[in-house]
Symmetry: C3
Subunit: 139 residues, 3 copies
């Protein structure tokens, strides 16, 4: 059993920017040479989230519309009143989506569905430089 960590650096546009990180994650798993195990994809930071989606422009728009509907940018947030940084909606979206997922791999290959892609969503209200943690535990 081994633990291997890799970091993915990203520059985002913010404002619910949805970025496909599947290729970088698959490559990190491949490079370990480990056969079986799991990979945890995690964003340090409280205005980002990780999930999976069929990554195509229609669904990218649908996800943005969904987040805007359930936690609107222009909503009344106590965070904005206290801190004046206008990203209360970013924090709320990030908290309920969650900061990471864990994906099993078998024979050195993540067990994703055919169209299922791993995405990082930057909910912050401005462009950000991000570092996503890819941590692989396996044998």
């Amino acid at each position: 059993m081994d633990v291997v960590t890799k970091k993915i650096k990203l520059s985002t546009k913010g404002d619910t920017d949805i970025i496909n990180i599947t290729a970088e994650t698959a490559s990190a798993v491949l490079n370990t040479g480990l056969k079986n195990g799991s990979v945890t994809i995690f964003v340090p930071g409280s205005t980002g989230g990780i999930t999976t989606v069929e990554y195509e422009p229609g669904l990218v728009d649908d996800l943005k519309a969904f987040f805007e509907k359930i936690a609107p940018k222009s909503g009344a947030y106590q965070h904005n009143i206290k801190w004046q940084d206008g990203n209360g909606y970013s924090h709320v979206r990030a908290s309920f989506l969650g900061p990471g997922i864990t994906v099993p791999f078998i024979d050195n290959k993540m067990q994703l569905g055919r169209w299922q892609q791993i995405i990082f969503i930057d909910f912050d209200n401005r462009p950000r430089d991000r570092e996503i943690i890819i941590q692989i535990i396996g044998e």
Copy 2:
């Protein structure tokens, strides 16, 4: 430390079909003979999700009503316009719920609450054959 993988095969009715997979998961953990570790339950596919619930008919209905309220089947989805498959709502629900969870086990027993059950939700808009990945890492 060992990694053991088991797959659960399911035939679902689709349309937010909620299926209790606790017994199969507990049995997979038991059969490893591993004492302590964690089990990741993951669905390959972008229209399914995994979580836990007190599995009783009232809450199964309540969850369905909740998903219909926040991401309605009849909503306007770009995915539907582009692909004509009518399951935009399925993808959105799956993305925000998430494709998997990780549950710790101690003395070969998952640390679930008394009424807490692991469920797979098939959000797709048609019956599907599914394979859920159960991956156990422990010692």
Copy 3:
């Protein structure tokens, strides 16, 4: 590779009580002496959830308002009709937030963002005594 389990005991006020458990989790990781790995934070029980947030009073209020908006306490829940315990909203909130998260650690330190804190949310409609599972796998 080792597996180490620690339990955090909490008394909550219930009703979407949001409790910062970062210090206890970091301390559990530190005490293992393990260098690299991941820690799973998991709540046994179907009316609690785990996520991360910038833990400040404004956002704590914003999260409570968000959960009340998307799964209102006074909503019509089949669970309440069947069981008369009035916590249908608690179960729905817990199921869609999810019962746990997994956080990577490097050099014995969790890879959280500067302001990112781990929280347990008790959605039940009454005060509860809880035990949160902290399970660390690493080397």
